[in-house]
Symmetry: C2
Subunit: 259 residues, 2 copies
Protein backbone atom coordinates (compact mmCIF):
# COMPACT_ATOMS: atom_id res chain seq x y z
CA UNK A 1 0.00 0.00 0.00
CA UNK A 2 1.65 3.20 -1.23
CA UNK A 3 0.39 6.61 -0.16
CA UNK A 4 0.49 10.16 -1.37
CA UNK A 5 1.60 12.24 1.58
CA UNK A 6 1.94 15.93 2.40
CA UNK A 7 4.49 16.92 5.03
CA UNK A 8 3.86 20.00 7.16
CA UNK A 9 7.02 21.08 8.91
CA UNK A 10 10.74 21.10 8.18
CA UNK A 11 12.30 20.39 11.57
CA UNK A 12 14.35 17.44 12.81
CA UNK A 13 11.61 14.86 12.30
CA UNK A 14 10.40 16.06 8.87
CA UNK A 15 14.04 16.21 7.78
CA UNK A 16 14.42 12.44 8.25
CA UNK A 17 10.84 11.32 7.71
CA UNK A 18 10.36 12.77 4.20
CA UNK A 19 13.28 10.90 2.54
CA UNK A 20 12.44 7.70 4.41
CA UNK A 21 8.85 7.80 3.23
CA UNK A 22 10.06 8.32 -0.31
CA UNK A 23 12.53 5.44 0.02
CA UNK A 24 9.67 3.25 1.19
CA UNK A 25 7.86 3.94 -2.09
CA UNK A 26 5.43 6.66 -1.02
CA UNK A 27 5.07 9.98 -2.84
CA UNK A 28 5.59 13.31 -1.12
CA UNK A 29 3.16 15.66 -2.81
CA UNK A 30 3.84 18.85 -0.84
CA UNK A 31 6.16 20.21 1.80
CA UNK A 32 4.82 23.09 3.84
CA UNK A 33 6.75 25.40 6.10
CA UNK A 34 5.82 28.76 7.58
CA UNK A 35 9.17 29.90 6.19
CA UNK A 36 9.25 28.80 2.56
CA UNK A 37 13.07 28.66 2.59
CA UNK A 38 12.97 25.84 5.12
CA UNK A 39 10.51 23.94 2.95
CA UNK A 40 12.85 24.44 0.01
CA UNK A 41 15.82 23.10 1.95
CA UNK A 42 13.94 19.95 2.84
CA UNK A 43 12.65 19.65 -0.76
CA UNK A 44 16.27 19.20 -1.84
CA UNK A 45 16.22 15.85 -0.03
CA UNK A 46 13.20 14.37 -1.86
CA UNK A 47 11.29 14.63 -5.11
CA UNK A 48 8.30 16.80 -4.30
CA UNK A 49 5.74 18.46 -6.56
CA UNK A 50 5.26 21.60 -4.52
CA UNK A 51 6.71 23.56 -1.63
CA UNK A 52 4.42 26.05 0.03
CA UNK A 53 3.91 28.40 2.94
CA UNK A 54 0.13 28.61 2.78
CA UNK A 55 -2.30 26.12 4.24
CA UNK A 56 -4.68 25.69 1.32
CA UNK A 57 -4.37 22.04 0.35
CA UNK A 58 -7.76 21.85 -1.34
CA UNK A 59 -6.12 20.90 -4.65
CA UNK A 60 -3.69 18.44 -3.10
CA UNK A 61 -3.62 14.84 -4.26
CA UNK A 62 -2.36 13.62 -0.89
CA UNK A 63 -4.40 11.30 1.27
CA UNK A 64 -2.35 11.62 4.45
CA UNK A 65 -1.25 14.97 5.92
CA UNK A 66 1.51 14.72 8.50
CA UNK A 67 1.92 17.58 10.95
CA UNK A 68 5.59 17.31 11.87
CA UNK A 69 5.73 20.59 13.78
CA UNK A 70 6.32 21.65 17.37
CA UNK A 71 3.56 20.80 19.85
CA UNK A 72 2.55 24.42 20.25
CA UNK A 73 1.97 24.88 16.49
CA UNK A 74 -0.27 21.84 15.99
CA UNK A 75 -3.56 23.36 17.09
CA UNK A 76 -3.27 26.49 14.95
CA UNK A 77 -2.22 24.57 11.85
CA UNK A 78 -4.98 22.00 12.32
CA UNK A 79 -7.57 24.76 12.62
CA UNK A 80 -6.38 26.62 9.52
CA UNK A 81 -5.47 23.88 7.09
CA UNK A 82 -7.89 23.45 4.18
CA UNK A 83 -8.02 19.79 3.17
CA UNK A 84 -9.68 17.90 0.33
CA UNK A 85 -12.40 15.34 1.07
CA UNK A 86 -11.53 12.00 2.63
CA UNK A 87 -8.15 13.14 3.89
CA UNK A 88 -6.45 11.90 7.03
CA UNK A 89 -4.71 14.48 9.20
CA UNK A 90 -2.18 13.17 11.73
CA UNK A 91 0.24 14.75 14.13
CA UNK A 92 3.52 13.34 15.36
CA UNK A 93 3.61 14.55 18.95
CA UNK A 94 4.06 12.48 22.07
CA UNK A 95 2.09 14.78 24.33
CA UNK A 96 -0.71 16.38 22.33
CA UNK A 97 -4.03 14.51 22.51
CA UNK A 98 -5.82 13.31 19.40
CA UNK A 99 -8.86 15.48 19.91
CA UNK A 100 -6.87 18.66 19.26
CA UNK A 101 -7.33 17.80 15.57
CA UNK A 102 -11.10 17.56 16.04
CA UNK A 103 -11.92 21.04 14.77
CA UNK A 104 -9.95 20.67 11.55
CA UNK A 105 -11.39 20.19 8.08
CA UNK A 106 -10.02 16.63 7.98
CA UNK A 107 -12.42 13.77 7.44
CA UNK A 108 -10.28 11.57 9.69
CA UNK A 109 -7.62 12.25 12.26
CA UNK A 110 -4.90 10.25 13.91
CA UNK A 111 -1.51 10.10 15.61
CA UNK A 112 1.69 8.99 13.95
CA UNK A 113 4.26 9.38 16.74
CA UNK A 114 7.77 8.10 16.19
CA UNK A 115 9.27 7.35 19.61
CA UNK A 116 12.82 8.36 18.82
CA UNK A 117 15.25 11.27 19.07
CA UNK A 118 15.93 13.10 15.81
CA UNK A 119 18.72 15.57 15.05
CA UNK A 120 19.33 16.86 11.54
CA UNK A 121 23.03 16.10 11.68
CA UNK A 122 22.57 12.42 12.49
CA UNK A 123 21.08 9.78 10.20
CA UNK A 124 18.25 7.78 11.75
CA UNK A 125 17.58 4.15 10.98
CA UNK A 126 13.78 3.99 10.86
CA UNK A 127 13.91 0.22 11.32
CA UNK A 128 14.76 1.09 14.94
CA UNK A 129 11.92 3.56 15.41
CA UNK A 130 8.77 2.41 17.23
CA UNK A 131 5.67 4.10 15.80
CA UNK A 132 2.84 4.85 18.22
CA UNK A 133 -0.43 5.04 16.37
CA UNK A 134 -3.94 6.16 17.22
CA UNK A 135 -7.16 6.86 15.37
CA UNK A 136 -10.83 6.52 16.16
CA UNK A 137 -11.52 5.54 12.57
CA UNK A 138 -10.68 1.88 11.90
CA UNK A 139 -9.82 2.23 8.18
CA UNK A 140 -7.57 5.22 8.97
CA UNK A 141 -5.83 3.30 11.76
CA UNK A 142 -5.31 0.45 9.32
CA UNK A 143 -3.70 2.83 6.83
CA UNK A 144 -1.46 4.35 9.52
CA UNK A 145 -0.36 0.83 10.47
CA UNK A 146 0.51 0.09 6.84
CA UNK A 147 2.37 3.37 6.58
CA UNK A 148 4.34 2.72 9.78
CA UNK A 149 5.02 -0.86 8.70
CA UNK A 150 6.57 0.38 5.47
CA UNK A 151 9.18 2.18 7.61
CA UNK A 152 9.66 0.00 10.69
CA UNK A 153 8.75 -3.40 12.12
CA UNK A 154 7.84 -1.70 15.43
CA UNK A 155 4.27 -0.40 15.65
CA UNK A 156 2.01 0.02 18.65
CA UNK A 157 -1.54 1.28 18.95
CA UNK A 158 -1.53 3.56 21.98
CA UNK A 159 -4.30 5.75 23.42
CA UNK A 160 -3.59 9.45 24.03
CA UNK A 161 -3.40 9.04 27.81
CA UNK A 162 -0.87 6.22 27.56
CA UNK A 163 1.05 8.15 24.94
CA UNK A 164 1.48 11.05 27.38
CA UNK A 165 2.89 8.67 30.02
CA UNK A 166 5.13 7.20 27.38
CA UNK A 167 6.36 10.63 26.35
CA UNK A 168 7.18 11.56 29.95
CA UNK A 169 9.06 8.27 30.32
CA UNK A 170 10.83 8.97 27.04
CA UNK A 171 11.98 12.36 28.32
CA UNK A 172 13.58 10.64 31.33
CA UNK A 173 15.02 7.82 29.23
CA UNK A 174 16.31 9.97 26.37
CA UNK A 175 16.60 13.70 27.09
CA UNK A 176 17.47 13.41 30.79
CA UNK A 177 20.05 10.64 30.38
CA UNK A 178 21.61 12.78 27.65
CA UNK A 179 21.60 15.79 29.97
CA UNK A 180 23.38 13.79 32.67
CA UNK A 181 26.05 13.02 30.07
CA UNK A 182 26.31 16.73 29.24
CA UNK A 183 26.84 17.56 32.91
CA UNK A 184 29.52 14.84 33.12
CA UNK A 185 31.20 16.31 30.02
CA UNK A 186 31.19 19.78 31.58
CA UNK A 187 32.60 18.59 34.91
CA UNK A 188 35.41 16.82 33.07
CA UNK A 189 36.12 19.79 30.77
CA UNK A 190 36.23 22.21 33.70
CA UNK A 191 38.96 20.07 35.28
CA UNK A 192 40.82 19.68 31.97
CA UNK A 193 40.09 15.94 31.87
CA UNK A 194 39.27 13.96 28.74
CA UNK A 195 35.62 12.89 28.48
CA UNK A 196 36.91 9.82 26.63
CA UNK A 197 37.87 8.29 30.00
CA UNK A 198 34.19 8.00 30.94
CA UNK A 199 33.00 6.26 27.79
CA UNK A 200 33.57 2.66 28.92
CA UNK A 201 31.63 3.44 32.11
CA UNK A 202 28.74 4.97 30.15
CA UNK A 203 28.53 2.06 27.73
CA UNK A 204 28.69 -0.53 30.52
CA UNK A 205 26.16 1.34 32.70
CA UNK A 206 23.56 1.48 29.93
CA UNK A 207 24.20 -2.07 28.69
CA UNK A 208 23.90 -3.42 32.22
CA UNK A 209 20.77 -1.41 32.88
CA UNK A 210 19.05 -2.65 29.72
CA UNK A 211 20.07 -6.23 30.42
CA UNK A 212 19.33 -6.69 34.13
CA UNK A 213 17.02 -3.70 34.73
CA UNK A 214 17.90 -0.31 36.19
CA UNK A 215 16.99 -1.27 39.75
CA UNK A 216 19.44 -4.16 40.04
CA UNK A 217 22.02 -2.32 37.95
CA UNK A 218 22.40 0.65 40.29
CA UNK A 219 25.70 1.26 42.14
CA UNK A 220 27.45 4.31 43.57
CA UNK A 221 27.57 6.46 46.69
CA UNK A 222 23.81 7.21 46.90
CA UNK A 223 22.89 3.53 46.69
CA UNK A 224 25.44 2.73 49.41
CA UNK A 225 24.08 5.67 51.44
CA UNK A 226 27.66 6.82 51.66
CA UNK A 227 26.83 10.22 53.12
CA UNK A 228 30.39 11.46 53.44
CA UNK A 229 31.06 10.89 49.73
CA UNK A 230 27.72 12.51 48.86
CA UNK A 231 28.73 15.53 50.95
CA UNK A 232 32.14 15.68 49.31
CA UNK A 233 30.55 15.61 45.85
CA UNK A 234 27.89 18.17 46.80
CA UNK A 235 30.57 20.54 48.09
CA UNK A 236 32.72 19.96 45.02
CA UNK A 237 29.78 21.19 42.91
CA UNK A 238 29.54 24.38 44.98
CA UNK A 239 30.62 26.41 41.92
CA UNK A 240 27.19 25.76 40.38
CA UNK A 241 24.30 25.85 42.85
CA UNK A 242 21.74 24.44 40.43
CA UNK A 243 23.98 21.52 39.51
CA UNK A 244 24.70 20.80 43.19
CA UNK A 245 20.96 20.80 43.85
CA UNK A 246 20.36 18.33 41.01
CA UNK A 247 23.09 16.14 42.51
CA UNK A 248 21.40 16.30 45.91
CA UNK A 249 17.87 15.61 44.62
CA UNK A 250 18.77 12.74 42.31
CA UNK A 251 20.94 11.17 45.04
CA UNK A 252 18.05 11.50 47.49
CA UNK A 253 15.71 9.90 44.99
CA UNK A 254 18.14 7.02 44.44
CA UNK A 255 18.16 6.40 48.20
CA UNK A 256 14.37 6.61 48.38
CA UNK A 257 13.94 4.31 45.37
CA UNK A 258 16.06 1.56 46.90
CA UNK A 259 14.62 1.45 50.44
CA UNK B 1 55.80 -8.56 36.13
CA UNK B 2 53.69 -10.82 38.35
CA UNK B 3 52.69 -9.75 41.85
CA UNK B 4 51.61 -11.32 45.09
CA UNK B 5 48.50 -9.46 46.16
CA UNK B 6 46.27 -9.37 49.24
CA UNK B 7 42.65 -8.30 48.74
CA UNK B 8 40.84 -6.55 51.56
CA UNK B 9 37.10 -6.53 50.94
CA UNK B 10 34.54 -8.84 49.37
CA UNK B 11 32.08 -6.44 47.72
CA UNK B 12 31.20 -5.88 44.05
CA UNK B 13 34.68 -4.78 43.04
CA UNK B 14 36.67 -7.42 44.97
CA UNK B 15 34.27 -10.03 43.57
CA UNK B 16 35.41 -9.33 40.00
CA UNK B 17 38.93 -8.05 40.65
CA UNK B 18 40.26 -11.13 42.49
CA UNK B 19 39.58 -13.67 39.69
CA UNK B 20 40.75 -11.20 37.02
CA UNK B 21 44.05 -10.66 38.83
CA UNK B 22 44.50 -14.41 39.09
CA UNK B 23 43.69 -14.86 35.39
CA UNK B 24 46.33 -12.26 34.60
CA UNK B 25 48.93 -14.43 36.34
CA UNK B 26 49.14 -12.76 39.74
CA UNK B 27 48.82 -14.64 43.04
CA UNK B 28 46.17 -13.78 45.59
CA UNK B 29 47.82 -14.49 48.93
CA UNK B 30 45.01 -13.47 51.30
CA UNK B 31 41.41 -12.34 51.21
CA UNK B 32 40.26 -10.30 54.19
CA UNK B 33 36.72 -9.46 55.18
CA UNK B 34 35.31 -8.16 58.45
CA UNK B 35 32.83 -11.03 58.10
CA UNK B 36 34.92 -14.15 57.43
CA UNK B 37 31.98 -15.81 55.61
CA UNK B 38 32.14 -13.15 52.89
CA UNK B 39 35.88 -13.74 52.49
CA UNK B 40 35.17 -17.46 52.18
CA UNK B 41 32.56 -16.89 49.49
CA UNK B 42 34.99 -14.86 47.42
CA UNK B 43 37.76 -17.43 48.07
CA UNK B 44 35.64 -19.95 46.16
CA UNK B 45 36.31 -17.89 43.02
CA UNK B 46 40.14 -17.97 43.22
CA UNK B 47 42.98 -20.03 44.61
CA UNK B 48 43.99 -18.26 47.80
CA UNK B 49 46.29 -19.33 50.62
CA UNK B 50 44.37 -17.73 53.46
CA UNK B 51 41.06 -16.08 54.29
CA UNK B 52 41.03 -13.89 57.37
CA UNK B 53 39.06 -11.38 59.42
CA UNK B 54 41.99 -9.86 61.30
CA UNK B 55 44.30 -7.14 60.02
CA UNK B 56 47.66 -8.61 60.97
CA UNK B 57 49.44 -9.15 57.66
CA UNK B 58 52.94 -9.11 59.18
CA UNK B 59 53.58 -12.64 57.92
CA UNK B 60 52.04 -12.05 54.47
CA UNK B 61 54.10 -12.61 51.36
CA UNK B 62 52.11 -10.07 49.38
CA UNK B 63 53.73 -6.95 48.03
CA UNK B 64 50.54 -5.08 47.09
CA UNK B 65 47.56 -4.69 49.46
CA UNK B 66 44.34 -3.62 47.77
CA UNK B 67 41.65 -1.99 49.92
CA UNK B 68 38.50 -2.80 47.94
CA UNK B 69 36.10 -1.59 50.63
CA UNK B 70 33.53 1.19 50.95
CA UNK B 71 34.92 4.71 51.19
CA UNK B 72 33.96 5.05 54.83
CA UNK B 73 35.93 1.94 55.86
CA UNK B 74 39.20 2.90 54.19
CA UNK B 75 40.59 5.14 56.89
CA UNK B 76 39.99 2.71 59.76
CA UNK B 77 41.44 -0.26 57.88
CA UNK B 78 44.48 1.73 56.78
CA UNK B 79 45.16 2.79 60.35
CA UNK B 80 44.82 -0.72 61.78
CA UNK B 81 46.43 -2.93 59.16
CA UNK B 82 49.83 -4.37 60.12
CA UNK B 83 51.99 -4.74 57.04
CA UNK B 84 55.39 -6.26 56.36
CA UNK B 85 58.28 -4.06 55.21
CA UNK B 86 58.36 -2.62 51.72
CA UNK B 87 54.65 -3.19 51.09
CA UNK B 88 52.42 -1.01 48.91
CA UNK B 89 48.97 -0.19 50.25
CA UNK B 90 46.41 1.07 47.72
CA UNK B 91 42.75 1.92 47.85
CA UNK B 92 40.25 1.72 45.00
CA UNK B 93 38.01 4.70 45.68
CA UNK B 94 37.12 7.54 43.37
CA UNK B 95 36.62 10.13 46.08
CA UNK B 96 39.02 9.41 48.95
CA UNK B 97 42.36 11.28 48.74
CA UNK B 98 45.67 9.48 48.74
CA UNK B 99 46.87 11.03 51.98
CA UNK B 100 44.25 9.15 54.00
CA UNK B 101 46.65 6.20 53.77
CA UNK B 102 49.48 8.32 55.18
CA UNK B 103 49.19 7.11 58.78
CA UNK B 104 49.28 3.43 57.87
CA UNK B 105 52.21 1.06 58.42
CA UNK B 106 52.70 0.84 54.63
CA UNK B 107 56.08 1.80 53.21
CA UNK B 108 54.34 3.09 50.08
CA UNK B 109 50.80 4.11 49.26
CA UNK B 110 48.80 4.59 46.11
CA UNK B 111 45.46 4.61 44.33
CA UNK B 112 44.21 1.86 42.07
CA UNK B 113 40.76 3.13 41.02
CA UNK B 114 38.85 1.23 38.36
CA UNK B 115 36.44 3.69 36.71
CA UNK B 116 33.61 1.29 36.09
CA UNK B 117 30.33 0.06 37.57
CA UNK B 118 30.50 -3.37 39.21
CA UNK B 119 27.58 -5.61 40.21
CA UNK B 120 28.15 -9.15 41.45
CA UNK B 121 25.54 -10.58 39.09
CA UNK B 122 27.14 -9.18 35.94
CA UNK B 123 30.49 -10.20 34.48
CA UNK B 124 32.86 -7.31 33.81
CA UNK B 125 35.33 -7.23 30.96
CA UNK B 126 38.40 -5.63 32.53
CA UNK B 127 39.74 -4.78 29.07
CA UNK B 128 37.05 -2.08 29.12
CA UNK B 129 37.95 -0.71 32.55
CA UNK B 130 40.07 2.45 32.74
CA UNK B 131 42.39 2.35 35.77
CA UNK B 132 43.17 5.66 37.47
CA UNK B 133 46.49 5.45 39.27
CA UNK B 134 48.33 7.63 41.74
CA UNK B 135 51.39 7.34 43.96
CA UNK B 136 54.02 9.74 45.20
CA UNK B 137 56.61 6.98 44.99
CA UNK B 138 57.83 6.49 41.42
CA UNK B 139 58.74 2.76 41.71
CA UNK B 140 55.30 2.07 43.29
CA UNK B 141 53.53 4.02 40.55
CA UNK B 142 55.49 1.99 38.01
CA UNK B 143 54.32 -1.25 39.65
CA UNK B 144 50.70 -0.06 39.75
CA UNK B 145 50.93 0.75 36.05
CA UNK B 146 52.25 -2.75 35.34
CA UNK B 147 49.49 -4.24 37.46
CA UNK B 148 46.78 -2.21 35.69
CA UNK B 149 48.30 -2.98 32.31
CA UNK B 150 48.02 -6.71 33.01
CA UNK B 151 44.23 -6.21 33.27
CA UNK B 152 43.42 -3.42 30.82
CA UNK B 153 44.95 -1.30 28.06
CA UNK B 154 43.42 1.81 29.68
CA UNK B 155 45.53 3.43 32.40
CA UNK B 156 45.73 7.04 33.49
CA UNK B 157 47.80 8.72 36.18
CA UNK B 158 45.41 11.10 37.92
CA UNK B 159 45.96 13.34 40.97
CA UNK B 160 43.51 13.08 43.89
CA UNK B 161 41.84 16.40 43.09
CA UNK B 162 41.19 15.43 39.49
CA UNK B 163 40.05 11.98 40.59
CA UNK B 164 37.33 13.57 42.75
CA UNK B 165 36.08 15.59 39.76
CA UNK B 166 36.18 12.45 37.70
CA UNK B 167 34.19 10.55 40.29
CA UNK B 168 31.51 13.25 40.41
CA UNK B 169 31.33 13.17 36.60
CA UNK B 170 31.14 9.37 36.75
CA UNK B 171 28.16 9.57 39.12
CA UNK B 172 26.32 11.74 36.59
CA UNK B 173 27.40 9.61 33.63
CA UNK B 174 26.73 6.24 35.23
CA UNK B 175 24.54 6.26 38.35
CA UNK B 176 22.33 9.20 37.35
CA UNK B 177 21.73 8.05 33.78
CA UNK B 178 20.81 4.65 35.22
CA UNK B 179 18.43 6.33 37.69
CA UNK B 180 16.72 8.20 34.84
CA UNK B 181 16.16 4.82 33.20
CA UNK B 182 14.69 3.48 36.46
CA UNK B 183 12.26 6.39 36.61
CA UNK B 184 11.29 5.75 32.96
CA UNK B 185 10.73 2.07 33.79
CA UNK B 186 8.51 3.01 36.73
CA UNK B 187 6.44 5.51 34.73
CA UNK B 188 5.87 2.86 32.05
CA UNK B 189 5.03 0.13 34.58
CA UNK B 190 2.56 2.37 36.40
CA UNK B 191 0.68 2.84 33.12
CA UNK B 192 0.88 -0.85 32.23
CA UNK B 193 3.16 -0.15 29.27
CA UNK B 194 6.09 -2.31 28.19
CA UNK B 195 9.49 -0.80 28.92
CA UNK B 196 10.70 -2.61 25.78
CA UNK B 197 9.11 0.15 23.67
CA UNK B 198 11.67 2.64 24.99
CA UNK B 199 14.78 0.59 24.28
CA UNK B 200 15.42 1.82 20.71
CA UNK B 201 15.16 5.41 21.99
CA UNK B 202 17.60 4.73 24.83
CA UNK B 203 20.13 3.05 22.58
CA UNK B 204 19.91 5.79 19.94
CA UNK B 205 20.06 8.60 22.54
CA UNK B 206 23.26 7.27 24.10
CA UNK B 207 24.89 6.34 20.78
CA UNK B 208 24.13 9.76 19.37
CA UNK B 209 25.37 11.49 22.51
CA UNK B 210 28.68 9.60 22.49
CA UNK B 211 29.15 10.25 18.80
CA UNK B 212 28.27 13.92 18.35
CA UNK B 213 28.46 15.10 21.98
CA UNK B 214 25.62 15.58 24.47
CA UNK B 215 25.15 19.26 23.69
CA UNK B 216 24.42 18.80 20.00
CA UNK B 217 22.53 15.57 20.66
CA UNK B 218 19.86 17.09 22.91
CA UNK B 219 16.22 17.19 21.77
CA UNK B 220 12.86 17.31 23.55
CA UNK B 221 10.42 19.76 25.11
CA UNK B 222 12.91 21.50 27.45
CA UNK B 223 15.37 22.20 24.63
CA UNK B 224 12.50 23.60 22.52
CA UNK B 225 11.36 25.62 25.55
CA UNK B 226 7.96 24.10 24.93
CA UNK B 227 6.46 25.31 28.19
CA UNK B 228 2.99 23.87 27.64
CA UNK B 229 4.39 20.34 27.19
CA UNK B 230 6.66 20.83 30.22
CA UNK B 231 3.60 21.87 32.24
CA UNK B 232 1.63 18.89 30.98
CA UNK B 233 4.44 16.51 31.98
CA UNK B 234 4.94 18.19 35.35
CA UNK B 235 1.24 17.86 36.11
CA UNK B 236 1.20 14.25 34.93
CA UNK B 237 3.88 13.52 37.54
CA UNK B 238 1.73 15.04 40.28
CA UNK B 239 1.38 11.59 41.89
CA UNK B 240 5.01 11.83 43.02
CA UNK B 241 6.11 15.28 44.16
CA UNK B 242 9.81 14.44 44.29
CA UNK B 243 9.76 13.01 40.78
CA UNK B 244 7.87 16.06 39.47
CA UNK B 245 10.47 18.29 41.10
CA UNK B 246 13.31 16.35 39.44
CA UNK B 247 11.49 16.76 36.13
CA UNK B 248 11.21 20.50 36.72
CA UNK B 249 14.82 21.00 37.81
CA UNK B 250 16.43 18.93 35.06
CA UNK B 251 14.21 20.60 32.44
CA UNK B 252 15.20 24.02 33.79
CA UNK B 253 18.86 23.02 33.69
CA UNK B 254 18.49 21.82 30.09
CA UNK B 255 17.05 25.24 29.17
CA UNK B 256 19.83 27.05 31.05
CA UNK B 257 22.54 24.88 29.48
CA UNK B 258 21.42 25.66 25.94
CA UNK B 259 21.00 29.42 26.16
Amino acid sequence: MKFKIAILGSGNLAWHLAPSLENAGHTITEIYSRDIRNAEKLAERVYVAEVKDDLDFSESEAEIYILAVSDSAISELADQIILPEESILVHTSGSVPLNILGYSSAAYTGIFYPLQTFSKIRKVDFEEVPFLLESEDEPSLHKLKKLAKSLSPLQYVVKSKDRLALHVAAVFAGNFTNHMLLKAEEIMARQGLEFEMLKPLIIESISKSLEIGAKKAQTGPALREDLSTLDLHYNFLGYNEQLAEIYRMVSQDIMDSHL
